[in-house]
Amino acid sequence: MEEIEFKIAPESKIRKKPSYIKPWLGLKYLFKRPVTIKIPYEKTQIAKKYRGFHTLDWKKCVGCNFCGQICPARAIEMTWLEVDGKMEKRPHPKIDYGRCTFCQFCVDVCPTGALGFIESFMLTTEWKEERIQLFDWVPIHPEKFKKLQENYNDWRFPVEKIEFNDETKEVVYHFRDGEIFKFKILGYGIRPPKPKSGAKRVEKKA
């Protein structure tokens, strides 16, 4: 093995001498301002491209499931949705924020640029009554999200309440500005859900 030349630092530079007086020099910081900020009275600054919540342009989404395949936490599942009685032609990603690691690889792979992200990041709520279950979140349009963020400017989630009906699979988003958005989950997976007659047959067999 050939010898490697390390530029070794002189020992005199590394060694220190113990001192009884120098530790007291730290007292000068008593007369300086603290670096901490008072949350929630003061706000932290968020970087411009902070990896926060997802946004989805439903019209652009082609339902290719690239996001579901790349997701390291397997938080994304494709869902078939029905809005105002009309079924969406393609499935849309549904995000489980209990699993999401906010790596945003799903945004990187999105071929049409439908999936995006916004700086909002607050997963917590202030009071117990405000709690929202974020296991089945179909992201909303980026412009809607941006508008809500600009109005409230606190990096919170855009909804106040999510109603989820276990039987009819109807979901109601109550936005913070009072708007209500309803849709129905028809099924999960890449393939379209089977018609109701098919489901009945399975029941009979069982």
Binding site: I4, K7, P18, K22, P72
Partner: protein
Amino acid sequence: MVAQSELIKEARENGMDLLPLDKDTYELFFGPQHMATENFSIILKMDGHRVVKAIANPGFLHRGFEKLAELRPWHTNIALLLRICVPEPDVPENIYSMAVDEIIGWEVPDRAQWIRTTVLEMARVSAYLFWIMGLSFKLGVYTAGQWAAAYRERLMALFEELSGARVYHIYTIPGGVRRDIPSDKWLRQLKDTVEYIKSKLPDFDHLVFENYITFKRMEGIGVMDKKFALAEGVTGPNLRAAGVAYDVRRADPYLLYPELDFEVPVLGDGDALARALVRRYELEQDLYILEQLLEMGPPSGPYKVEDPRLKNLPRFKVPAGDAFAHVESTKGDFGAYVVSDGKNKPYRVQIRGPSIAHGVRVLEQLLVGARIADVPVILMSLDNCPPDIDR
């Protein structure tokens, strides 16, 4: 004098688990809730306040990284593997990316190499600040620890701007980096931060490294000699403090390190104080490296490899082959061995972590004969990373 059995009885009544071994010795569970051990536990056999035997008891953070990495697409593994070492997540990202680059045969663009080197050095500085915080908390100098946390915050803000996240950056990917440098303002901010931290180093010296309490508490404890360190495979600052000049950045240069100038600190004492002083000097050198990098400036060009295959990341396939890449982290020599069989998932990812070398067997040896108050100090002077031990 209270009889031993009565003491044990009293301890049991209060829910304490002091197991009597014989008349004078008892067993003490140190951690994992203890602040000093950070999700790591040591079972100590004590004779009075001296340690007779120490048994490292890791495993509280086991997540099976290496197996999980075999089940996920190539790029996705970045989001997983960086959790191996929380204080410096860029190191696992980089070793994995460098190994994958080598298998594919990609030549990473100059700009990406510059960014990677800068990010690695920033991670080193922030990890050393984090370590100063830990050490000063264990020594009882809480003020210095809080300063270190505050200065680290500046680097975290820079990371946030660069990568979009504060702690888990998920920034370096095979073939380059995920985002370009945000703006020239970011470079200026980095320069200011480097200067700022450099100006604050004397304060740390005054309070921690030149404090007579530090010398009283750290001198001569946990002595590790050269032979023992080499036999156990200890690397990094711990090995340099034992008197061996070895640094991966010089021994097996990677990225831009051949062009950079820095000194390798070596001390022959091998005790806790030597380890602390070596780390202190390395922090200074890392800031010096960052200054050089900023003087160089980022070269123009693309920040990641342009390859049509990258458009379909879930189906991205790496040709069959294997590669090993390692970097110098603040803990030591961090390496990854990646094997591909030509599919869209790795066949095997093996991580060579530094903490397993100095965090288990070496720690057990060094703790013998130490006072109970010195246990956290020795543990912190070794600077182990519990998630890396468990993996």
